[in-house]
């Protein structure tokens, strides 16, 4: 993830130590100066995200990373950055919660990631990689989405993905979008009128509402253009597992086990959690009998699955919070039980 950021031209990284993502700031502390970028170990998560607010306003591609409790602390700054329409990349290597929780992998920050987190009506683009090579690819893409839509992008990873070792091919960065000129940057008003980046809208009375409408229009555009999924063995599936991130990868194993037993089971894996890939879920719901949601939380992601299919099919659930993660066998047992019903 850190190298992908460097390859994508990330010029500024600020972070604060927290397990299980310390490898990122440690790598960046060495790699950023080498690549001509800036690394700052911030005094606080709040400071780190506000350093990004400054770096993004100065036109730099910038990134921070943390884990669940640290991401909670960053929410104030994330709200401001989203409100000011500045691009940046935030990575959350999720751990168990609530509170200090534990340092095992978790997916319990789903609501925080896709429903807001900070104050006000705003949205983050949320990407959920399920392998290390995909983490590499999506980190590069995240910078493009951030610049293209002028919006913060959150990479929602977890402690397993954050700690695992997997071979990747270091590919050079190539932009996937035609990126707009940064006409908002504060770099001194030489030859132009001064620019202001602000999030306070007091006058006229409806100015904040107008700004919210402007943001909402952008969010609608993102919803239309950026719904990404991967489907596995869904063409004839009667039962489809819905899972994201590392859970989806484990679920693939369960799908294979079920298929060898002749059970028509498939998998849908959202790659974008916001915007939620409603279209693909709706299409699947037309021909699938049942869904099984698997997530490493007590049931957050399942709400969006039900909303997307408008509860037109039964949705079973397998999941626990607090650092639980499933094995392919766990999921297969659940599949067998559902299948036999």
């Amino acid at each position: 993830m850190a190298e992908a950021a460097v390859q994508a031209g990330c010029q500024f990284y600020a972070g604060y130590p927290i397990t299980p993502q310390n490898e990122v700031p440690e790598y960046m502390s060495r790699r950023m100066p080498e690549a001509g970028g800036i690394f700052i170990q911030a005094e606080a998560e709040l400071s780190a995200i506000n350093m990004l607010f400054g770096a993004a306003s100065a036109g730099a591609r910038c990134m921070t990373s943390s884990s669940s409790p640290g991401i909670s602390l960053k929410q104030e700054g994330i709200s401001y950055i989203a409100a000011a329409e500045l691009p940046c990349v935030i990575a959350n290597v999720q751990r168990g919660g609530p509170g200090l929780g534990n340092i095992r992998a978790s997916q319990a920050d789903y609501f925080q990631s896709v429903k807001g987190g900070g104050h006000g009506d705003y949205r983050l683009i949320v990407l959920a990689p399920s392998t290390v090579p995909e983490l590499y690819k999506l980190t590069m893409n995240a910078f493009d989405y951030a610049d293209y839509y002028r919006n913060p992008v959150l990479i929602l990873s977890d402690g397993i993905l954050g700690q695992m070792v997997e071979p990747i091919e270091i590919r050079p960065y190539e932009p996937i979008l035609d990126l707009p000129e940064k006409d908002y940057v504060l770099d001194g008003c030489k030859g132009r009128k001064p620019r202001v980046i602000k999030t306070l809208y007091l006058h006229p009375a409806d100015s904040l509402m107008q700004w919210n409408i402007h943001l909402e229009e952008k969010y609608k555009k993102i919803c239309k253009e950026l719904q990404l999924t991967e489907e596995y063995e869904t063409s004839d599936a009667e039962l489809v597992i819905a899972a994201y991130g590392i859970t989806a990868r484990i679920a693939k194993g369960a799908v294979d086990m079920a298929r060898t037993k002749g059970m028509k089971v498939g998998l849908i894996r959202p790659i974008t959690l916001w915007p939620f890939p409603e279209r693909d879920f709706k299409t699947l719901a037309k021909r699938v009998k049942k869904f099984l949601v698997v997530e490493m939380s007590n049931g957050q992601f399942i709400e969006d699955v039900k909303l997307a299919i408008e509860c037109k099919r039964p949705v079973e659930f397998l999941g626990w919070g607090g650092g639980w993660y499933p094995s392919a066998e766990n999921i297969f047992e659940k599949i067998e039980k559902i299948w036999s019903d």
Binding site: I40, A42, F53, A55, Y80, D187, V196, I197
Partner: protein, 244 residues
């Protein structure tokens, strides 16, 4: 006598109350930026507080920050654009209460930015609550019996606090409560920006300023309060100067 308006100030009446010190400090800031010829390379931060509309008055690039976070935001800007002149404009609640962490660490890292710190011993915009710099015995809307009666502790002295930090290049406390003080305040602001331009590290000017509205005083009484009381608690002077 009519003084010409500095180019760095917009031709715009301020929203500040009669007798408030912000207008004076804005004027000084405008004059210094003009004189140093840095308006087109200056990037400022506007605070949460009475000066949030700084960008309506100061004619340069400005970013409005969350409460307490301007030093972190300025750090991000300055590190990306080291040849620009970056300043924060902050009040006492912003700088010395909710943003104490950012203030201390930005100063200690020696970030090459300039902070204009308005100390008027009260939260202005929210209606006169206790500030970290409210003096002992001072009435505010949240110290109805005077500060010190309910274990609030004594006022925080920012220049004294920061003067022990290695990254600080220039620290001076001034006031804007007399013509002589205003003259010295301008010199200090100029010195602070020069310190940054020379790349010496963190510079801060603390300015004792009037808030007649929230002190429930007349503008004249407010000037006397600064001269007779605040200056006793917050002595004026240079606390650090690495560019003599």
């Amino acid at each position: 006598m009519k003084l010409a308006r500095p180019e760095t100030l917009y031709d715009q009446a301020t929203h500040y109350c009669p007798g408030c010190g912000h207008g004076i400090v804005h004027r000084l800031l405008g004059e210094v930026i003009d004189e140093l010829g840095i308006r087109e390379k200056a990037i400022g931060t506007a605070p949460v507080g009475c000066a949030v509309l700084l960008y309506d008055y100061i004619n340069c690039d400005i970013i409005e920050c969350a409460h307490g976070r301007p030093p972190a935001v300025a750090t991000g800007i300055k590190r990306v654009l080291p040849d620009r002149v970056v300043f924060t404009y902050q009040g006492d609640g912003d700088l010395a209460a909710i943003g104490t962490t950012e203030t201390i660490h930005t100063a200690n890292r020696g970030e090459n930015i300039t902070t204009i710190f308005i100390n008027n011993a009260v939260y202005g915009m929210t209606g006169g609550q206790m500030a970290p710099t409210t003096i002992l015995g001072q009435w505010t809307s949240t110290t109805p019996a005077g500060r010190g009666s309910n274990q609030e502790g004594p006022p925080l002295k920012v220049c004294e606090l920061l003067s022990s930090l290695g990254g600080v290049a220039y620290l001076e406390r001034v006031a804007v409560s007399s013509p002589r003080d205003v003259g010295q305040a301008k010199k200090a602001i100029r010195k602070a920006f020069e310190t940054q331009i020379k790349g010496k590290g963190f510079s801060l000017v603390e300015i004792l300023s009037m808030c007649p509205t929230d002190w429930k005083q007349s503008p004249r009484e407010a000037v006397n309060f600064v001269n007779n009381q605040l200056k006793q608690v917050f002595p004026l002077g240079v606390f650090r100067d690495l560019v003599p």
